[in-house]
Point group: C2
Chain length 199, copies 2
Amino acid sequence: MEASRKMAWHWHFLGFFFLSLHVFSAKAKASQCSIKGLPLVRNISELPQDDHGIRGLSHITVAGSVLHGMKEVEVWLQTFSPGSCTPIHRHSCEEVFIVLKGSGTLYLASSSHQKHPGKPQEYFIFPNSTFHIPVNDAHQVWNINEHEDLQVLVIISRPPVKMFIYDDWFMPHTAAKLRFPIFWDEQCLQVQAPPKDEL
Amino acid sequence: MEASRKMAWHWHFLGFFFLSLHVFSAKAKASQCSIKGLPLVRNISELPQDDHGIRGLSHITVAGSVLHGMKEVEVWLQTFSPGSCTPIHRHSCEEVFIVLKGSGTLYLASSSHQKHPGKPQEYFIFPNSTFHIPVNDAHQVWNINEHEDLQVLVIISRPPVKMFIYDDWFMPHTAAKLRFPIFWDEQCLQVQAPPKDEL
């Protein structure tokens, strides 16, 4: 009981998952770009979930700038299938990871002062581990496990995030491609964009 | 596999917990007020854990301003034993909750414009649910389950947090007691305070 109280992060999840399957798609559509109709307390398994065109990704915005009106923090639940990864990227915000399931490798280039990220350091990430990415440091997360998904909870500051993507670790910072809105904010930021000036 | 990939938040935790028990106290002391010696990727089960004098609470700062140098976001893992609760309080930051385990009640008074919080609304919170507290809205979280712990992951902006505590929902905002540093930042903020001016 004591050990359990201290750190047993058990998720009575499967029940909720199957219970919510029948309403998932409807809810997903209903709350795609608005919190209208969303209760204050939300079942995460009923939130919109998509790969947003990224192979091996499953993304859920748990609390977001675009969907829920957050101004200072944003929380994502992301699952990477075996062999999948994030792009090499950086962003001008703080980012905290919590590894819920699986294992992988964090590549981190702490050399933002140079003209390019440079050769990154490698870190093993594992279940129940946490780490944070310094503002503007280029990084990449890989699921190197051939058999198990890598599931992470991601917390960022200053939403909505602007992501700068690199083809490789030696691409100059000035050549990195800006991705804004980010993949999962695209549809809704377009929807919420103000009408063009007709003059 | 697909269901698992989508939302199975299983924590291969117990193994890590028992493996880390023998180093827990040493690590806890070593990293009490400094990130010196802490690896970039940290095992959450090895982080300092304390009730900070609050009955029924088990608090872990997963990523913090004081301990880890975060400037924009802070993450806590908190466990409330049956019947325990937070004080009625507010803070000038965004706050996101993710319920990992157990159930309880959120009391939220969305009336910061009045002279006191006033009668709060009640919301049932459950495993795998999430909610956020609007900036400066008075709130309280209770573990109403007599048999199970309530475990939540808490994300706040603008760390270190300044908490204003109310004796009841009708205490004037102006009478709320400021708690800064907050319970779990006390020791380290004192340690890190600059020396007094001797002149």
